[in-house]
């Protein structure tokens, strides 16, 4: 293991984050606050509770999930896309470093940042609503798994993307709708029956549901299925990346 190389990449990526720490933190905090104002205060005053939970608190796991998914994907994607764009990726490719080590560096840093943002949003939410976390260990575990697997996904996007538009395409066109339709702001059980069935094909449903279980001990789907879904997604991403590096797709000609 080339630990120094992992540390070098990780530190380099984290330095990039801290160089723009203000933008990195301020935008998720502001947008989360806006969600609270709109959904929590304005709409929440008409809904009051969902399955016995205050609506303001009910949306917290979904909001965290939304931001963590976005942050994981965009950070990891930019982390590898930028060196590709400016050409400095040659250095990583010519270094005595293996694929798992490259991933630990880039994906580790992106996941760390997403975790940090998630925790900051949790803190922000605490200012608006009373929060009780039923299973804190499970909550952290879900956050970690989510951040890691979606950072891997972002890494794939970063390698795939040929320009900055494509880089933004997936987060905007895929992640956001999936999260909004994935029960971030409502319980799946509130949907008409046909839509409930369709929703079950949305992977984010399982993430949000499992994450919500960690907070309130209640979920749309059994927590076991949530874990299974996220494990499957993780495996898919790892398999894809292994294939990318073996064939050199878009990286090594």
């Amino acid at each position: 293991m080339n630990f120094r190389a992992i540390a070098a990449i990780y530190k380099f990526e984290m330095a990039r984050t801290f160089r723009s720490i203000f933008q990195s933190v301020i935008s998720p905090v502001v947008s989360t606050s806006l969600y609270f104002v709109v959904f929590g205060a304005a709409i929440g005053s008409r809904i009051e509770t969902v399955e016995g939970i205050q609506y303001g608190a009910f949306i917290v796991p979904g909001l965290m999930m939304l931001q963590m998914l976005m942050q994981s994907v965009t950070n990891a994607a930019l982390g590898i896309y930028f060196p590709k764009f400016v050409g400095t990726v040659y250095e990583v490719l010519s270094a005595p470093i293996s694929v798992p080590e490259i991933l630990l560096g880039y994906v580790g840093a992106a996941a760390t940042k997403a975790m940090m943002i998630g925790l900051i949003i949790l803190g922000t939410a605490g200012l608006f609503v009373d929060l009780q976390i039923a299973h804190p260990v499970a909550m952290i575990a879900f956050m970690l798994l989510t951040c890691i697997s979606f950072s891997l996904f972002g890494f794939i996007i970063g390698i795939w993307a040929g320009n900055f538009e494509q880089l933004n395409l997936i987060p905007m066109l895929v992640i956001t709708p999936l999260v909004f339709l994935g029960g971030a702001f409502y319980s799946i059980s509130m949907l008409p029956e046909a839509w409930q069935t369709i929703a079950l094909f949305n992977p984010v449903v399982y993430l949000v549901s499992g994450f919500r279980w960690a907070f309130f001990s209640m979920s749309d789907v059994a927590v076991g299925y949530s874990l299974l879904a996220i494990a499957a997604f993780l495996a898919f991403c790892i398999a894809t990346i292994t294939w990318i590096f073996r064939t050199g797709w878009k990286l090594r000609v």
Binding site: Y90, L93, S94, S98, V253
Partner: protein, 313 residues
């Protein structure tokens, strides 16, 4: 001594079927400066990219310091530093942090004294805390060299180090290369400036169309393939070459001198005979000079030969 780099029957075929390398064999000795010459698209960069791990080979094998670049890629790559052709730098980073990053990436323990030495040698020390985007083009190239040297490689690849840089900077780069050679680093540089190869290289390899056409000591190459021209200036210029001299291949140049081209490698150059004929013709010499043909002539000759050969085949 075993060569530091050994390339055996290396081929590279791209997905679109284009064959960039057609079975290249090449041994590079430790401590030498090897210049790879060739026109654009000849396969120089592809060769370097494969040795450094940026591109995958199709067939053949490469060892660096005895380590196979695929099987023992870590040990092989630790020995190599690469300065690519394109200007590729992390513009938002500070000089010193980008160099330290490179050292870490190659698995070396951080060593502030070593980094300082490298930056001082490249006259970058004063700029160490500058962001790279604030530097001039020449300085950026130096940063790339500093990055490539950060892990103390034994082999340095310089891909077109002086392409598109002004004369002054080119001279600077040459000084840097000379200093590196002195420190024992093996240098492989690609260039299409013949002047550069002549000035810097111990050996010259000519690549064209994915093949290594020849590899030879720079001096030997010049001698063995070089033709010399004897320029004879006469006291009283003539309007036509005396028949005896014309038979020996002497021609009248546009400037009025009599030119005799001879092969330095031939057993008899025929100079004495030419001079005797001059005397017999009653011509008086004003001056004599000789001119050695340059690598450029040799190079153009080789590449043209290859093209003619292909057309004939």
């Amino acid at each position: 001594m075993a060569p530091i780099i050994s390339v055996n029957n290396l081929t590279k075929t791209y997905d679109n079927g284009f064959q960039a390398l057609k079975g290249v064999d090449l041994d590079i000795e430790e401590g030498e400066v090897l210049a790879l010459l060739g026109p654009n698209g000849a396969g120089k960069t592809t060769l370097i990219s494969i040795i450094c791990g940026i591109a995958n080979k199709s067939e053949g094998s490469v060892t660096v310091g005895g380590y196979d670049i695929t099987r023992d890629f870590r040990k092989a790559r630790e020995l190599i530093g690469l300065v690519p052709q394109e200007m590729s730098v992390e513009v938002f980073e500070k000089v010193i942090s980008t160099v330290k990053f490179s050292r870490g990436l190659f698995g070396k323990k951080q060593d502030d004294a070593k980094i300082e030495q490298i930056l001082r040698d490249l006259t970058l020390w004063d700029k160490k805390d500058n962001r790279i985007r604030e530097l001039s083009g020449g300085m950026k190239r130096r940063v790339m060299i500093a990055k490539a040297l950060s892990h103390e490689p034994r082999v340095l690849f310089l891909d077109e180090p002086t392409a598109g840089v002004d004369v002054e900077l080119r001279k600077e780069m040459w000084d840097v290369m000379r200093a590196l050679k002195k420190s024992g680093v093996t240098i492989i540089l690609t260039t299409h400036y013949i002047e550069e190869a002549e000035a810097m290289a111990d050996r010259v390899g000519v690549i064209s169309n994915g093949e290594l056409l020849l590899i030879e000591d720079t001096d030997t190459l010049m001698k063995s393939m070089g033709k010399k021209v004897l320029k004879i200036e006469l006291d009283e210029p003539v309007t036509e070459v005396p028949p005896a001299l014309a038979e020996k291949g002497v021609v009248l140049s546009p400037t009025g001198t009599l030119d005799y081209t001879y092969d330095t490698a031939a057993q008899q150059t025929g100079i004495t005979d030419v001079l005797a004929d001059l005397r017999a013709a009653g011509l008086k010499l004003a001056d004599l000079s000789t001119r050695q043909s340059s690598l450029e002539d040799i190079f153009v000759g080789l590449v043209t030969d290859q093209k003619t050969g292909e057309n004939a085949a």
